[in-house]
């Protein structure tokens, strides 16, 4: 049984109100399920609190069918409906279901949009920051090394643990919503020092320089180590935010990597020895030119037709650097009449893109800059899409399977070229 501090016991006894009591009850059940002995305090929580589909609201019709009902019954898994106060922890809302302006283009109904507007109003009223992105760390919530967080979103979790040295497990909707009220999360897994050491070794023997190659290496690593912690060394060069972003998202998709070490690059891996700690490497995997080619072919195995009718960029959500790059590539060109180009980012980054004129450059070329969501999350693609091209290994892993379409993986340049020609001409250099 999890041990409680006096303050945690008081929450469980209802001294901080019914909602916090229900949240603590859920977290105690969760801690006991994990076998955690205590809670850790957190003041950085990222989830999808209270947002729901009309199906879920209708399910709780007898409880009022509103935000309060959904937050009580679903988020807190409570049998009773309770008043939900403003959140206590620093809390933010991750990606949502549609673009707040371009929802018609995304094929959403007015009813679904009205529901989205209602939920967002409630989210704001409950003191939850409307970041609406899978990349909170470039939209206003950047943890620091050693900070205990409670985050959802696998690509954000792996970035937080690996690149920043923040500490979070892959939390779920219910645990993050409860943590927003209690500022507690089970002290288990990545919150603990001994859990964060490497288990397998990855020896990189082929140059890995841009997001295209970092994404493929990430996909390889996830496939090999599954959800264990890899220690990567060798010819990985020129680390940057967007390279880590694409690497981690890919590794979290093909495997379930929640943390990685890159020797001399990530903060908890100043050396191979420090990255492994008391562990000895269980297996060593070599990434060479042959493996690079194999991964490229795996990622492109769902592409047959070279007639591309949709190019999706922004998985994980594009940074301002990437939007600037895409705008530069497409400036003076036009998206082909048989194709669509949608680029996804956060609202914070879009504000900068607008200030710089990138949104306009993209619009003039026939492309759309969208926020909040992506084609996989919202299952929204341009009508009639049969073949998509992406520059994200994560997206090519998910989107074709979810939508029953073909998919190509390539560089950002190849994707922009496909958008402007309607033809896929990508190949491995």
């Amino acid at each position: 049984m999890v041990m409680l501090t006096r303050e945690e016991q008081a929450m469980l006894d209802g001294e901080q109100g019914a909602a916090t009591q229900k949240a603590m009850e859920l977290l105690v059940r969760y801690a006991d399920a994990l076998g955690a002995e205590r809670f850790v305090e957190t003041n950085n929580v990222a989830g999808v609190p209270g947002s729901s589909t009309l199906w879920l609201k209708n399910y709780y019709k007898e409880d009022g069918g509103d935000y309060r009902a959904v937050f009580s019954r679903f988020d807190l898994d409570s049998d009773e409906v309770v008043d939900v106060p403003r959140m206590n922890a620093y809390s933010c809302h991750l990606q949502g279901g549609m673009d707040p302006e371009l929802w018609v283009e995304q094929g959403m109904t007015p009813e679904a949009h009205a529901n989205f507007v209602y939920d967002e109003g409630e989210t704001a009223m409950h003191g939850i920051q409307i970041l609406k992105t899978c990349t909170p760390y470039i939209a206003g919530n950047l943890p620091v090394m050693g900070e205990h967080c409670a985050w959802m979103e696998s690509s954000a979790v792996v970035f937080c643990n690996s690149v920043i040295g923040g500490r979070t497990n892959t939390e779920g909707r219910e645990s993050t919503s409860a943590a927003m009220l209690t500022k507690r999360i089970p002290d288990w897994g990545f919150h603990r020092d001994d859990y964060r050491f490497g288990r397998h070794e990855v020896d990189v023997r082929v140059p890995v320089e841009d997001i295209f190659d970092w994404g493929m290496l990430g996909y390889f690593v996830g496939e090999k180590v599954q959800d264990e912690i890899p220690v990567i060394h060798g010819s990985v060069t020129n680390p940057s935010l967007i390279r880590h972003k694409h690497f981690g998202a890919a590794a979290a998709s093909s495997g379930g990597v929640e943390m990685y070490h890159m020797v001399g690059i990530t903060p908890e891996a100043p050396s191979i020895e420090r990255a492994f700690g008391a562990n000895r490497p269980v297996q060593t995997f070599v990434y060479d030119a042959a493996e690079r080619r194999r991964i490229y072919e795996v990622l492109n195995s769902v592409g047959q037709s070279t007639d591309v009718d949709y190019v999706m960029l922004g998985c994980p959500h594009y940074s301002i650097e990437q939007i600037a790059h895409a705008a530069r590539l497409i400036e003076g060109r036009k998206v082909h009449e048989n194709c669509a180009l949608w680029i996804f980012t956060s609202r914070a980054v879009k504000a900068t893109a607008e200030a710089n004129g990138y949104t306009r450059t993209l619009r003039d070329a026939g492309a759309l800059l969208m926020t909040d969501t992506c084609s996989a999350i919202s299952q929204a693609v341009p009508k009639g899409t049969r073949v998509v091209a992406v520059d994200s290994a994560k997206q090519v892993h998910y989107l074709p399977a979810m939508m029953g379409i073909e998919g190509w993986y390539g560089t950002t340049e190849e994707c922009i070229d496909a958008a402007c020609t309607g033809k896929w001409r990508g190949r491995l250099q």
Partner: protein
């Protein structure tokens, strides 16, 4: 199929309760980890992941025996929704503890057990009669007679 309570189980395993409670029913076993979001249709309890060995089969009303959870952080919400849709399994037995599996089991509110003294994936086959007694940390197995 009804359980003859006088019949001694063929195998008894001992483990740690994840979610308390007792349930019994027919086993559905997979040696592959299960994805929630993008891997399961919550409305039917059906596995939808491409190339999964259980693709097209529903865990609704079964004792689900699997290695563990993988994939998106939406795991618990998908299994939670399966419970609302009446498509949850009766109980769960799994090997590898993760935050996804723990939270999913909690919000699905089904008896669940892990850390068994022998590998349930080697000893339980689809169709076996299984009782998960998480209150006493036991799994009782009656092998299917052919």
């Amino acid at each position: 199929m009804t359980l003859d309570l006088d019949t001694r189980p063929d195998i008894i395993l001992t483990g740690r309760a994840v979610v308390p409670g007792i349930a019994e029913g027919e086993a559905l076993v997979t040696h592959q980890t299960i994805s929630g979001w993008g891997g399961v249709n919550a409305m039917t309890g059906t596995i939808i992941e491409s190339r999964h060995e259980l693709k097209g089969q529903s865990f609704a009303g079964k004792i689900l025996v699997f290695p563990g959870a993988k994939g998106s952080s939406g795991w618990s919400a998908v299994f939670h929704t399966a419970r609302l849709a009446g498509k949850a399994p009766l109980a769960m037995i799994f090997n590898v503890m993760t935050t996804k599996a723990a939270l999913g089991a909690v919000v699905m509110r089904v008896p669940s057990i892990t850390d068994l003294d022998r590998d349930p994936l080697e000893l339980i086959e689809t169709g076996d009669r299984v009782q998960v007694d998480a209150d006493n940390g036991q799994v009782r197995i009656w092998k299917r007679r052919v």
